[in-house]
């Protein structure tokens, strides 16, 4: 370098050194920009994930209250028929009422009894029913049972809603707090792992709401999307980049695809509604329709990413393959496409990630809905994780706030698993020319 600088007579050695220093400073600055950009992006990600995690982790536990429940035969089977069909329709709330009444004998007024009952989840009666149906031997016995607390109580125990505001500003009243404290004092209140959140479908009672239905729905939807968008997208990209004659028609197709990427997602919902539901009469709210609609939306992303990945494969590779007698199709399938695979996978991941997080197009085809039953197949009514997040985020009940965040966490786990797979595949295919 010194010699180089000296050889250019009018540039002195000092100038050369100064210039080198300048260039190196520019190099360091450039590198710093890169680091800064990464730091900005990563810290935002961490901040976002952190805030979700902080809000959501409480949803993985739930407050339970222990009660001594007597499975009174006169309540469960008042006519003594012994018919399990009838047991299902019995008033199990009465068992809880009697049990609470035995624990707090002073409570007599109907208003007070209702307040006392409100400590326990309104769905606890279904838990008792299921216990009896599972094990009819319980009838006539007294068991100590951990029942889920009502969401309002749960929020109070978790410290999410405050105790120290005036009584009329609280959903949990003073007498309820007194009863709760009495129960806490005798060790009849605990916070336990809330497995139900992962195994149940949606419910309007926060403490009974679960994410499993949405997970299954998302799984079916994504499978359909992937099965349609990936092959069609890659084939289209291969055609446009490798085979299509360069003429106006191809220009049209290319512009058209770029344009489709800019179409707001809800418009794809309108299209799905018009084509799949109105013309072909496919079922509303079904993952198969959701998947097809999202596939339409994801296609442009995959096509564009695949095309630029194919374009980036050095021409020498193609020429070498052609030179040893491969047909054009063999060149693409055996050499170009595998070489472009990392880019193809990136496009697919980004497109699928977007599809996984999308709600707007699903609105038009009926998947933004309250669906409590777990879908049994891709044509059963179902909802998806982001819709569940959206619906819970709009629910008035306070307890749904933590569920919203927790559902987002579950969605992220899905996303990370998907990305993990892509990273593995990308690593397998990646080369540097």
């Amino acid at each position: 370098m010194t010699e180089f600088a000296e050889s250019r007579g009018h540039v002195g050695t000092n100038d050369g050194a100064a210039r080198r220093a300048r260039r190196h400073a520019a190099e360091r600055r450039f590198r710093l920009y890169g680091i800064l950009a990464i730091v900005v992006a990563v810290s935002f990600l961490v901040l976002l994930l952190g805030s979700i995690a902080v809000q959501g982790y409480t949803a993985f536990t739930a407050t339970q209250i222990r009660l001594d429940v007597t499975f009174e035969p006169e309540v469960i089977d008042p006519e003594g028929t012994g018919d399990p069909e009838l047991w299902a329709g019995a008033d199990y709330g009465a068992l809880i009422r009697h049990s609470l009444g035995a624990r707090f004998p002073g409570v007599r007024e109907p208003e007070e009894v209702r307040a006392l009952m409100a400590l326990i989840s309104s769905g606890a009666r279904f838990d008792l029913r299921d216990m009896v149906l599972d094990d009819p031997g319980l009838i006539g016995t007294t068991r100590s049972v951990w029942l889920p607390a009502a969401a309002d109580i749960d929020m109070l125990v978790k410290g999410i809603t405050p105790r120290d505001v005036p009584e009329d500003a609280r959903r949990v009243k003073d007498n309820q707090i007194a009863w709760l404290d009495a129960l806490v004092a005798e060790g009849a209140v605990k916070r336990a792992l809330h497995l139900r959140f992962f195994t149940a479908g949606d419910s309007r009672t926060p403490e009974r709401a679960g994410i499993w239905g949405a997970i299954v729905g998302s799984f079916y939807t994504m499978m359909v999307t992937l099965a349609l968008a990936f092959p069609i997208g890659v084939l289209t990209a291969v055609y446009l980049e490798e085979f299509a004659p360069k003429n106006r028609w191809t220009d049209l197709v290319e512009i058209n695809i770029n344009n489709l990427a800019a179409v707001p997602s809800i418009v794809f919902g309108l299209l799905g509604l018009a084509v799949f539901l109105n013309v072909y009469h496919l079922p509303r709210s079904a993952p198969v329709v959701g998947g097809m609609t999202l596939a339409l939306m994801t296609l442009p992303t995959i096509i564009i990413a695949t095309r630029s990945a194919l374009a980036a494969v050095p021409p020498s590779l193609r020429e070498a393959a052609l030179a040893i007698g491969a047909s054009p199709l063999q060149v693409v399938m055996h050499h170009t496409l595998p070489a472009a695979m990392p880019g193809v996978l990136t496009g697919t991941i980004i497109g699928m990630a977007r599809a996984l997080g999308e709600t707007a197009p699903l609105l038009m085809i009926g998947m933004v809905a309250f669906i409590a039953d777990i879908p049994g197949g891709p044509s059963d009514p179902a909802t998806v994780l982001p819709v569940q997040v959206f619906l819970w985020a709009g629910s008035p009940e306070r307890a749904f706030a933590e569920k919203t965040a927790a559902a987002t966490l579950v969605l992220l786990v899905f996303l990370i698993a998907m990305n993990g797979l892509a990273v593995y595949l990308r690593k397998k295919f990646e080369k540097r020319w």
Partner: protein, 829 residues
């Protein structure tokens, strides 16, 4: 080879997906379907949940579509494809009833089930407001009377209206004009306040449209902040901004009493008792409508209505009241309950207590999906056999000397497989597309003329009915013997058609197999033939994108044309004022220039610019750092980590933008002495920019990484530093890919809704100032589509027009972009 085989398998898979989808369409429905208002949604779902738990019926599926969209679905027809019940936050309109009747939905039962109080609340940390309706009107109306004249609302602070009110800025967050809550608020509160001015009250009889225009128009200068239909967000924003007031449903106040306080209206507190007693002035009724024709067909409808109208559900101490529903007075409850019981009487006596669906008569059975699946499976198996046979035959023809064959043995296998599978597959697809049309035509031809002429709503409704009968969703005897016969005919034809299909497909497959098999010989150019087929498959898949475009244009076009019947094209394209609130009444449409789309496009541009000025530098530098500087291990971890950003639901970004970023900007602005709106384009744009980083970073990283190493080595050899190499050599070489990535990111930014709704609001200001609230085209599309207004009103139709215009505009942008890329594209090796 692996990929060839993969492509073939994928083709088969697609066929199966299509068949499953089509098959599913034919199945009858067991659960109740409900659609409609997002305000009624929390209550209806609660009843649905309880109903599913306590009865033997499946839990009803409840959609949140907005009242207008819900009624449109509900009124589309009779049959399993249409909802049984619609929830409404307003009464159904006469025009909607007429549309219903036209589609054969004549008999519907209205059930009013309670009230929703509309409260005006603020944070507990601030002083409680005690407002009169007159003060509310003065604070929120667009024009107010002053010295006997109507002037643009001059009030900026509450104190200016009345010295007794606090000296804070007027800042009220409330629902957009598409919302039923807004409509009720305008009708009860605004009009109530408006009527206290004698000069305006006099207008009421003299000039009703003018009166309504004054009383019903809410100001759009930023004091009233339009938020989406997410009341929780308003609740949380109020917590962050003690000066603001929020307008929302009582149930949200009921849940958040520890954080919020409801303002007194005329000294009356918005409490459960006061709203129920009718003392509190701002409330509205909630309804649901039941399609009588579905009662007894879809199991459980009458039982659901009975459960809904039970005292334990909707009574003063029922579980809905606990969640904020204000019950009806007792006599109204009794009347509605009677209506519910009358509905139960519609149920055919034959139905069991558990409501088993009526069993179709013997011999009347539709083709099930599984038989279609079977045909597809046979086709796949035959093709696989064809592959094996072709391969073996080719090898046998040259006695195992592969060198003598023209193509590889596998190619011969594919050759036969294609001959076997393709014609059958084509027949299959053709059948799926054409069969329904043919059968419909035949069934119609067999019907007596009189029935076709008499049918309400025309041939489509008639056919729908026949199909519903054929599937056993409506008992034929409930309609007419002629229709029942037609349904039977329909099923018979369906069976014949299916038998024809099975025979055709099998014949084609075996015929193709035999032909392909015969053609095989060492000289057959199997590879060329197979590749020709595959290449046409490639070309065919690229046509799909054109089809999608055609589909999008078609699905937008008709409503757009209807919209331009109501609003002129020039006004829409060049109007500077977007204010859909005045358009709800027919007499004002078009007169006030309320549908000028310019502010929306300007807002879209502004937010996209902000987003890109975050995403492009951060994304591009991240990509450069990852591919050129970072250690491989670091890159492997960073890249997927950033890609997570692309998949987080946008609701989460929206909440983050609205509740974390926007307040930071507002506070920072206050320190710097700037007036930053609590909903600003800046907050939404920045967060959106962060969200689309992976579009730029990951895709650019891939193309940068794919630049041949020899280019770098050459540059280093000449003494260039790393950054010089990147700037001068690598980036130009990677430019087409980077431009593609940026274009994709821009597209994503244009299409984003949730972040903008939550953080930038819905107010259409024509401004280039990023510190003000703006809105975007897509946000308006979504808001208009899910609104409570009538679906055929200009307001909803505007969504389609916006979609189409946006589509055309991005099309032009892309034409330009393609030209630019062509010009600068360079190919290195």
């Amino acid at each position: 080879m692996v990929i060839d085989k993969g492509a073939l398998l994928i083709g088969k898979f697609l066929a199966i997906v299509a068949v499953v989808a089509f098959a599913a369409a034919a199945e009858a429905r067991e659960e109740i379907r409900i659609a409609g208002s997002s305000t009624v949604f929390p209550f209806a779902t609660m009843v649905a949940d309880e109903f599913g738990q306590t009865t033997g019926f499946k839990t009803p599926v409840v959609e949140s579509t907005g009242t207008g969209g819900g009624i449109k679905l509900f009124c589309a027809g009779v049959g399993a494809a249409y909802p049984d019940i619609v929830n409404a936050s307003r009464r159904i309109k006469e025009s909607e009833r007429a549309a219903c009747a036209e589609n054969g939905v004549a008999a519907i039962t209205e059930i009013k089930f309670g009230f929703d109080g509309i409260v005006i609340a603020n944070a507990r940390s601030a002083p409680r407001f005690d407002l009169t309706l007159r003060q509310l009107f003065l604070a929120l109306a667009k024009r107010v009377p002053r010295d006997g004249e109507l002037v643009a609302n001059p009030y900026r602070r509450w104190r200016e209206i009345d010295p007794a009110l606090p000296d804070t800025k007027i800042e009220v967050m409330g629902p957009p004009p598409t919302s039923g809550t807004r409509d009720a608020f305008v009708e009860r509160a605004m009009e109530g306040g408006c009527g206290t001015f004698p000069e305006i009250a006099a207008l009421k009889h003299a000039d009703k449209p003018a009166y309504q225009a004054v009383c019903h128009t809410i100001r759009e200068d930023g004091a009233y902040i339009e938020t989406g239909e997410n009341d929780n967000l308003v609740v949380q924003k109020l917590g962050a901004n003690p000066n603001a007031l929020g307008i929302f449903g009582f149930s949200f106040l009921n849940e958040n009493a520890d954080r919020l306080q409801g303002s007194l209206i005329g000294g009356v507190e918005p409490s459960f008792e006061n709203i129920a007693a009718g003392i509190y002035p701002i409330s509205r009724s909630l309804y649901f409508y039941v399609k009588n024709a579905h009662v007894g067909i879809i199991p459980g409808i009458a039982d659901y209505v009975r459960a809904f109208t039970d005292e334990r559900t909707w009574g003063p101490s029922g579980y809905l009241a606990n969640r904020g529903l204000i019950p009806l007075p007792e006599d109204e409850r009794r009347a509605a309950r009677a209506a519910a019981l009358r509905l139960a009487a519609l149920q055919p006596a034959a139905m069991g207590a558990r409501g088993e669906p009526p069993v179709p008569a013997p011999g009347v059975r539709a083709i099930s999906g599984s038989s279609l699946l079977l045909v597809a499976a046979v086709l796949v198996i035959l093709s696989a056999i064809g592959y094996a046979m072709g391969r073996r035959r080719a090898l046998a023809a040259v006695a195992g000397a592969v060198g003598k064959l023209h193509s590889l043995p596998g190619h011969y296998g594919y050759y036969v497989a294609i001959w076997c599978g393709l014609p059958g597959f084509a027949a299959f697809v053709l059948w799926l597309v054409l069969e329904p049309r043919i059968i419909e035509a035949l069934v119609l031809a067999g019907l007596p003329e009189a029935i076709i002429d008499q049918s309400v709503g025309g041939v489509d409704v008639l056919l729908d009915n026949i199909k519903s009968i054929a599937r056993g969703e409506i008992p034929g005897r409930a309609v007419s013997p002629a229709l029942e016969a037609a349904a039977e005919r329909y099923n018979r034809l369906d069976r014949i058609g299916f038998a024809g299909l099975a025979a055709t497909v099998l014949a084609l497959a075996t015929g193709g197999l035999a032909y392909g098999q015969r053609a095989i010989g060492p000289a057959l150019r199997a590879r060329n033939r197979v590749e020709a087929v595959l290449r046409s498959a490639l070309a065919a898949s690229s046509v799909l994108s054109i089809l999608i475009t055609v589909g999008i244009v078609l699905s937008l076009l008709f409503e757009t044309i209807r919209f331009f019947d109501l609003v002129s094209l020039t006004e829409f394209l060049f109007g500077l004022d977007w204010s859909p609130q005045t358009a709800i009444r027919a007499d004002q449409v078009g007169s006030s220039g309320a549908f000028g789309a310019v502010p929306l496009f300007a807002g879209t541009l502004l937010i996209t610019l902000i987003a890109m000025s975050v995403a492009v530098p951060v994304g591009l530098f991240s990509a450069i750092y990852m591919s050129e500087y970072a250690a491989p291990g670091l890159r492997a971890a960073l890249k997927p980590a950033l890609e997570i950003l692309a998949g987080i639901p946008t609701v989460v970004f929206g909440l983050f933008a609205a509740l974390t970023v926007a307040p930071i900007f507002r506070d920072a602005g206050q320190i710097l002495g700037l007036d930053v709106a609590s909903e600003s384009a800046l907050a939404a744009g920045v967060v959106m920019g962060l969200m689309i980083i992976p579009f730029v970073s990951s895709l650019s990283d891939d193309v940068i990484n794919a630049v041949p190493q020899s280019l770098r080595d050459g540059s280093y050899a000449l003494g260039a530093t790393k950054s010089e190499t990147i700037r001068r050599i690598i980036l130009p070489a990677a430019l087409p890919g980077i431009v593609g990535a940026v274009l994709l990111a821009i597209s994503r930014a244009i299409g984003e809704t949730m972040i903008v709704v939550m953080a930038a609001g819905l107010a259409a200001n024509l401004t280039a100032n990023p510190l003000e609230a703006v809105t975007t085209v897509t946000v308006q599309i979504v808001t208009l589509l899910v609104g409570d207004q009538e679906f055929t009103s200009a307001k909803t139709l505007a969504a389609f027009a916006l979609g189409l215009v946006l589509f055309l505009m991005t099309l032009m942008l892309n034409v330009v972009a393609l030209g630019v890329v062509r010009k600068y594209r360079e190919r290195y090796d």
